[in-house]
Symmetry: D2
Subunit: 362 residues, 4 copies
């Protein structure tokens, strides 16, 4: 992962700012002859799209994806397929409302990247956060939709498991619930509590953090690569690169630090498929940087949106002390919309791991 | 980070197995004319060296580093300096005792990478874990000693803050204590508890996990790179790539998920040095993937050593069910020796970030 | 250079096919605060644009470049500048005339990439050559226009020095002539011969090869990087990657193989500027992979366009023997339009070399 | 290719200087379970080894390769095989004779990298040319021996086809002659002329350039990668990175510039193996950056050794004008020993192309 590109054989480069012409990605290295329609990408974008409930930003972006290159109609089947050449996807920005952001041109919003962009580049696209806006993640979701095509046997799903201090009850976990509430929450009983809580947060003009969990099933043993291309290292990098993420853990994660050796290491019995059957999954499906064949389980923490209505102490570009209230249209819990983004990042990491694995060991 | 190389401009490639000829690294892209002696590397290696207390493996490795290339004596000063060409460092393996590992040739140790290496490569260097052994980290420590030379204004220190369920009292934090106890523990009062606890663990033939914290001070604002080369993403990848690490967090980390927006975002006042003075550091010194100028704070979780004396259920290469007791000489808390390793990884990430920053913005 | 991306710190990714929506590039790693207008890019594209004389393809493409990201108006100066974030440029395809290419859907054109794309990918965008079309080079020219901004002190110019067996007279070399004839030819006296010759080639429905020379002046000593990132190796890769290029040489190139040691090595005297003054430039401005401070001189050979009106023996996708005549609108000497493309590639290589040099040595 | 590493999935990093401890390489990404003994590497090194005839440098280096990592004995077969982990190879320097090079500490040798290393790094390992010495190529040859194992169906052979102005007669080409004369010359009749000529050059204390040709047979159609990872671009980069190389061409190369379209494009007939049978090979086995299945043919030009006994004008580090005579033990035609080096580079490029191809398209 480097600057605006990630991946090695399945490589994704993104571009675009919150209030420029649009957001896009170029996916290079995708295998050929995979069926791919704009609708495949659109389906994932619609899951991330803002303005779908009162719990996400009211910015209205249709987020319509166009595929600019890398596909053609296969005359034999009539289906649109990838050709092995770079696939560019572009999403126009529509509802920019630049006027909302006039005040932040000169003031640095606490918790945002305003100051550091100025410190690094000596210039900053202040319109909606510019390149540092979470709007960039739309391009990741588009890339992730393509990545899923590369690894059809793998199922990748994410869920919100904690909002502020409210956690779900894991015994109620039901993946089918994910699409049935505005929080991507797998615990139907927790939804009511979340609605009540987040309404209060929203009315207070505040925001709250969240913890998400992403699970990839169907990854064969051996994907990944020691020593610095470890699958868990790549997942950590990919998830940490999502806006507002402050922590990542695999399997038992920080909980593993509290365990004894005999509690943590997953015992094995003979499986029916020539592989070991693990008796537990504290490892989260990864050992030594390589997939074990068990579900890969990662969790990550999202900080609360820094754009809130409470006045905050800050400085301006002239380093004069001032206060700021971040108006505009913001997510009271930005973690919610991180669900499809996390799935996309994991899909990209796994697609890349698969191609590299196939490259080295056939 | 890819396979056995990490970094972009400051690039580290490591090689070697636990029971082969030795362990080494090649550091490419190091700036020229930096004073560098083997003793600089040795000092760091000695901090990681096994066998220095009863709380680490009793394997006796002198871990003597030789610099094979990339340095010469500067005739003007008489000092040995880097030349800008690749610096290779080699550390001979001495005390291998391969006979200890006969049993694990055919059986897969739970919690280790034995099975997945076989699944990926169809062959596995079973001698002491081969390439997946934590012995590889000696090469990282050597590279880190070189990286520190690249960023002389930056101080990087790590500490053990939790062992199993025992945490330090952060009010007692004193960096000077780090070198005065066998745990790299900054809380002198906690040391007695840790001794008592780890002795019991060791005598039980068991092991325990740990949490470590690493702090980098003196990093100027702007180092790092959006979007996929974010400084926190690179740190997460680097720390997660260390053996047995299962979680990484920056600043408040998972704690940030429980905060409200006004609790989390760090307010700013005007500083004396033309930079903002932050009123808190929930962000851990990184916003939008770029350094803020505050101390960079990362924590990571290390699982308990999987090599323990309790018999464990497992399978062998023929997928027959069996049991295994991992004899040999192991760390009861492998997290302890991760302290110099984590410092080294952070030093490498920051050296690379510095060079890339200088490359792009001068 | 890898797949569809080249460069390390100044990284260019291109996408798009001859008859798709358009052609584009993403330039990542560009320094901030460089003045950049679409017009800067357009000026270079216009030099490459088809249909400007009877000696280039009659395909009419306005090749209008739009900058989609990475720039903003600097409020202080009112000028549009780079922000340090990725700069995406897109050029719509307008005059595609897909019907011209019906026959080549199933037949493999000799000298083209038709067969090998099918062999590799099992599918091929046959419309105008798809991704393998020289139309892709429009994106390179756009990237090159940006690269020139990164290295303002460097002048990069190319010229056609040979068409078929007709060479220019180097004693007549005048850079001012380049823009005054349809061949980018620096020898005014040769132009008449070239016109006469190429008209005959064109009328015969045939095509002819060419040799071009590109010269970069103002490159300071030390840019480049041993051992595998040598400046000449990167130039060779960049120029060889241009469609139809079959050979690259630096300085005396293949002529150097005929020289004796005392004829070839460039002697030095003391210069006025603290640098050596070389008494000759057989080396073409590069020694040991690093710039010497002399003009960098590269030449490259372009094969004749393979699209000609003479019937040619070939096979079709079913591996049946057949003949093909490549109709459509083609350049009788594709080398001519390689002039701005070569300049662009050299500009990108040098911009990248500059940033990496600054990264490593300050 | 970047600094001291080249390749993407089959990655080679080299280190070491002419007069340091030794020369080495780390090969990362090699597939597992390939039989590999030190003797396999030694056989290639012996072909490059200096001091084997009066036509190469009299420096006596046994060039004994040790494999430091990445292999183990396969218990099933008793053979030593690769494990998929990085393979480090080290070659001790033995006959350094540093005293020979005292004079060049302060003076810049014309045609060498002395000045540019100083200009770039502000320091220079003057002992035998340091890192810029062709001694580094021993590590490439070692890596190439490993690369050959990755692509067992491919035969890679190089030959010297021109020495100064003396060319071989291609009608006499016989690969069996390569090992039977000190020039790697495929034309037995030319050997006598070369002996006579090079003896004269050597006695005169001078040197002469050469042209070499390398041919890879058995490369399947489709290896390589558009657009910037073209197989010919990678070969150009790899060959140009060899010391003293000033030009590279593929197939007809610069000769192609003199051809008409109908002369150049290789016609096709149906082959017996489901592939086209080409009626000629002007393309040198590569179209659009991808292998056609025909033999891959590259030629490259090597300049004459710059180390000669004739006094040459130069400057010293203080930029004072002076003269220099390069004593020491030098090759009168450094091109001769480039034969095994070129084969090694081509082997590495093809091994990498194979793994990447397999990664993307299976």
């Amino acid at each position: 992962m480097s600057h605006n590109t990630f991946g090695h054989l399945f490589r994704v480069t993104t571009f675009g700012e919150s209030h420029g012409a649009g957001i896009g990605c170029v996916v290079d290295g995708c295998p050929p002859r995979l069926a791919l329609e704009a609708a495949d990408i659109q389906a994932e974008l619609d899951r991330r799209r803002p303005g779908t409930s009162r719990f996400t930003t009211q910015r209205q972006e249709p987020d319509t994806a166009r595929i600019l290159s890398g596909v053609m109609t296969d005359d034999a089947t009539g289906r649109q397929v990838t050709t092995g050449t770079p696939i560019a996807v572009f999403i126009d920005n529509v509802d920019q409302r630049s006027k909302d952001y006039g005040e932040i041109r000169d003031k640095y919003r606490p918790g945002h990247a305003d100051y550091v962009y100025d410190a690094k580049y000596g210039i900053r696209d202040y319109r909606g956060g510019g390149r540092s806006s979470a709007r960039e993640t739309a391009a990741r979701v588009a890339a992730g939709a393509i990545a899923r095509k590369v690894i059809p046997g793998v199922t990748i799903r994410a869920a919100l498991v904690k909002m502020g201090k409210l956690a779900i009850d894991r015994r109620n976990w039901d993946w089918d619930q994910i699409g049935k509430n505005p929080f991507f929450c797998p615990d139907a009983e927790a939804v009511g509590r979340f609605v009540h809580y987040l309404d209060a947060v929203r009315r207070a003009g505040s925001s709250v953090g969240a913890v998400l969990e992403v699970v990839a099933e169907g990854v064969p043993p051996g994907w990944g690569a020691p020593i610095y291309g470890k699958l868990d290292a790549e997942l950590a990098s990919a998830l940490m690169s999502i806006n507002a993420v402050k922590g990542v853990e695999i399997g038992d994660g920080f909980g593993a630090a509290e365990l004894m050796g005999e509690e943590n290491a997953d015992e094995m019995r003979a499986g029916n498929d020539g592989r070991p059957r693990f008796l537990s999954n504290h490892a989260g499906g990864i050992l030594g940087g390589l997939a074990t064949g068990q579900p890969i389980v990662a969790r990550f923490a999202v900080k609360p949106t820094s754009s809130i209505l409470t006045p905050r102490k800050t400085v301006d570009r002239a380093m004069e002390e001032t206060e700021i209230v971040t108006k505009g249209r913001h997510d009271p819990c930005v973690g919610i919309r991180a669900v499809p983004i996390a799935e996309a990042m994991v899909a990209c990491v796994l697609a890349d791991a698969f191609l590299r694995h196939r490259g080295q060991v056939g």
